[in-house]
Structures are given as C-alpha cells and as structure tokens.
C-alpha cells in the first residue's frame, strides 16, 4: 500500500463521514476510504484493503459489530484494527464488540482530539516497529522554538493560577503527572500524553477570578458559595477556549469538564459517561486522587491505599471505570510521583 496509513470509514451519515474524513486528513500520510453502504463494501471485500477500519455501530442493513465480524472473516483483514463509533455505548455492547475483535469503542458525537488519538494509537498497534517519530503521531505544525515558547507561556500561567489557589503548590504538577501516567496506561499515544501533562495543570485556572473570601474560606460552603465555586469550570474554559494551540484547547476542555461525574451528577453540564471528554475523565481521577492524598485545610492526607480504595469504590459512579483501572495498574509509578513531589510536612513520604 503506497499510503502510510489508510483508514476505512463506514457510516451511513454523510455528516459524520465528512467530519471524520477532515479530522484524519490532518494526519500526515493518512488517506481515507469513505463508504455509506455496508453491503456494497462486503460485495467488494476481495479488493478491499485498509490499515484501520472505523465502523458506525448503527447502520441500516447490517450493524457495525456484525460488519466487523464479516471483515475479520476475511484472512487478509483479520488482524486489521477496528474502531466502532456508537451512541452511548454500554457494557453489553462493549462486550459484543470485544467478542467481534473490535479494538476500540468510541461514543458519539466523537471528540475530535480523542478520535485522532485513538486512530494514532491503533496505527502504532498496527505498526509496532514505528518509533515516536511516526508520521501519524500528530502534524508537527509548529517548529520546536514555538513549542518551547508555548511551554513557557503555559508554565507562567500555571504559576499565576497557583498564586490564587489554596491548593498545595505541587498539586497541579502532581496531578498533571498522574494524568499522563493514566493516559499512557490507557494506550494513548505519547503525543497525547505529553499534551495532557502540559494542559492538566491549568484545570483550576478559573479560580483566579473567584473572590479571595471564597477561596480562603475554611468551613463548609453555603449552597450559594458552592454554586459560585463551581463556576470556576466555566470561567477557566472561557479563559482558555478559542486558542489555536492544541495544548490550550485541551486545557480548556479539562477546565470545563474535570468536575463532571461518570453517572451524570457532576457539574457544570451534568455530562454523563462518554459524553464527558476523555481528558476530563482522566483529570477527574487524577485531581481527586491528589486531593485525597494531600493535606487540606479541612482534612489530613489519606494513605495511598485508602485513596485507591476510594477510586475503586467510586468507579462507575463518580469516575470512568476504564480510567480507574488504568490508574490502579500504575500504582508503583503513582507512588513514585508522590515520593518525588511531597508537600511540606504532608506525611506522604510514608503513605506508599
């Protein structure tokens, strides 16, 4: 195949096809094959070739999971990774998809950043010999000096945000490392993990616009104060949105969504399940874990074991179960971050 990465997309909705096509064409060397008719696709299966298939679950004549099975019946295509896009995928559907050999299931509407990250991840699986300079990692776009300057801006913003916060000065940095470790364990591309590590420290930047009296209050918040505090998500999003920079866009998404809960009871938008962007789901786990294991004005630090138990017990309610599982599998790395970046006199040195 002459193209570096060929992606087949099957969806009967032309809007989805056009959107996914545009998103993937931004990846260097990526070409797409678009198909709305599953039967026509199967009729030409002898000539069909691709590196990754993206199938809509809901198709008019044959559902995406059945189509995946049919594609994998063809020996040439058996090992080609398949991503399924589905409306509100549940555990049953995920199980059926896994049985059909589908590598990934992504909820609709697709999140552009997550979609590209998943495709990049599958591209690496398909081509394990590809190194970190793989052409489909993400368009390089900016020269290195611009990226370095962007990092300087980000670091300055994190410091500015930190002056107003009542969190430990190391909270944002630890939380960002946890995010990157978690994303890595989810199998996301290194580029995504690196962006996440840079974007995550800005998750609470919206607090910079909240009044001192509210930020420094040590007792319980009244309902009105709580509502005001919750506005930091929208404020932070407003500060960061609209940037061309991939990292700033990711930071805006995290700022808005890191207090959403998997069961839909979070804020500010009460998003549920995979309607919450992946970055927000990752940040929620990392943020809460660090809050639990740090000293606050109203609590002592929890042990690492108790904090992991809390995450485990709240998987599927407060947190994305997949994110919690990925975090739990990195226990040693998490403990290492805690040891390397302890708050002054916070007792985390013996918490692991």
């Amino acid at each position: 195949m002459s193209a570096k990465l060929s992606v087949l997309i099957v969806d009967d909705n032309r809007t989805n096809l056009a959107l996914m096509d545009m998103l993937l064409r931004k990846l260097p060397g990526c070409v797409t094959q678009l198909q709305t008719d599953a039967h026509a696709l199967l009729a030409g299966i002898d000539r069909l070739d691709y590196d990754i298939a993206v199938l809509a679950c809901r198709l008019p004549q044959i559902d995406g999971i059945t189509l995946a099975s049919r594609l994998r019946d063809e020996p040439r295509l058996r090992h080609k990774p398949i991503l399924l896009t589905a409306d509100e995928p549940n555990q049953g559907m995920r199980g059926s998809a896994a049985d059909a050999g589908i590598a990934e299931v992504l909820g609709k509407p697709i999140n552009p950043v997550e979609f590209r990250a998943r495709i990049q991840g599958l591209a690496h699986q398909r081509s394990p010999q590809a190194d970190s300079a793989s052409p489909w990692d993400e368009p390089a776009g900016a020269p290195p000096e611009v990226t370095a300057r962007e990092e300087e801006y980000l670091n300055a913003l994190v410091r500015v945000a930190g002056y107003r916060e009542q969190e430990s000065p190391l909270h944002s940095q630890r939380m960002a490392r946890y995010c990157a470790i978690l994303a890595h364990n989810l199998g996301l591309p290194e580029e995504f993990c690196r962006d996440l590590r840079h974007a995550a420290p800005l998750h609470d930047i919206g607090k910079a616009r909240l009044p001192d009296a509210l930020l420094r209050k040590s007792g319980f918040l009244s309902p009105e104060e709580r509502r005001e505090m919750e506005e930091h998500t929208r404020i932070g999003h407003g500060m960061l949105q609209g940037a061309r920079s991939r990292v700033f866009r990711m930071a805006a998404e995290i700022a808005l969504t890191h207090h959403e809960r998997w069961d839909g009871s979070g804020y500010p938008q009460r998003l549920k399940g995979e309607k919450i962007p992946l970055t927000g789901r990752i940040a929620a786990v990392a943020d809460v874990f660090d809050a639990l294991t740090s000293i606050k004005s109203y609590k002592t630090s929890w042990s690492i074991a108790n904090a992991f138990t809390y995450l485990h017990d709240n998987a599927g309610e407060q947190f994305d179960p997949a994110c919690v599982a990925a975090f739990e599998s990195a226990r040693e790395e998490i403990a290492e971050v805690m040891r390397a970046m302890p708050d002054p006199d916070d007792g985390t040195a013996d918490a692991a």
Binding site: L19, D87, Q241
Partner: protein, 122 residues
C-alpha cells in the same frame, strides 16, 4: 433553507442556543471555519431529504423508519454542535409519528444560518 443561505457575512443576529459553544469551539479549532461550513452545507443539503423521508414514514405509519430518520438527524446535529436542533429531535423521538414533526425539523434547521466565528461563540 438552502445551502445558498450559508454565507461568509457576519450574522445579523445570533441565537445562542442554536450552537453548543464548547463543541463549536472544538470543531472550529480542529477543522477550521471553512471546513465546518463545508460539513454544515452537506448536512443542510440532506435536511430536505430527511424531511421528506420522515413525512413518508409518518404517512405510512412506519415508526421504525421515522426513528431511523430522526436518529440520523440527531447524529448529525450532535456531531456539528447544533444544540437546539438536537434538543428538538430528541423531543420528536418521543412521538416519532406526529404529523407536525417534518415541519418542526425544517423550522429548527432554518435557524442555522451561519457558522459563528469564535468571537460569536464565546
């Protein structure tokens, strides 16, 4: 509403509930204003067909077909961040064979007159 109504001109007015601002900002950043406009044109060109398919389904009492059409409309509306249209279609799905549904679909689609720039979205 036709594709010709989608112009580069600044909007005379913006009804903020038409768009999901977060989704809009994300799409504008990822595919650009021109790209988003192209996809929107594609969807708007499909709307009359969706409308006639829905009307035919209602006329023949074919609930499965009506749900299928509304599913496509919702799928597109959510993908494009058309919040008001998505909300309307969700409501239509409660009674997919109601005779007024094709008109409601068309009315909601007619509100989508332009792709707001970021300054309009924020």
């Amino acid at each position: 509403m036709t594709a010709a109504a989608l112009t580069d001109a600044d909007p005379p007015s913006a009804r903020p509930d038409v768009w999901d601002e977060q989704r809009l900002a994300s799409l504008l950043a990822d595919v650009g204003e021109a790209g988003l406009r192209d996809i929107l044109r594609l969807f708007m060109a499909d709307v009359p067909f969706l409308q006639s398919r829905l009307a035919a389904a209602i006329a023949t009492g074919n609930e499965h077909e009506a749900r299928s059409v509304l599913g496509l409309a919702l799928d597109s509306a959510e993908a494009l961040g058309l919040a008001a249209l998505a909300a309307a279609v969700r409501t239509l799905r409660n009674d997919p064979l109601a005779t007024g549904n094709p008109d409601i679909l068309a009315q909601e689609a007619a509100r989508i007159r332009f792709v707001p720039s970021l300054k309009h979205a924020s």
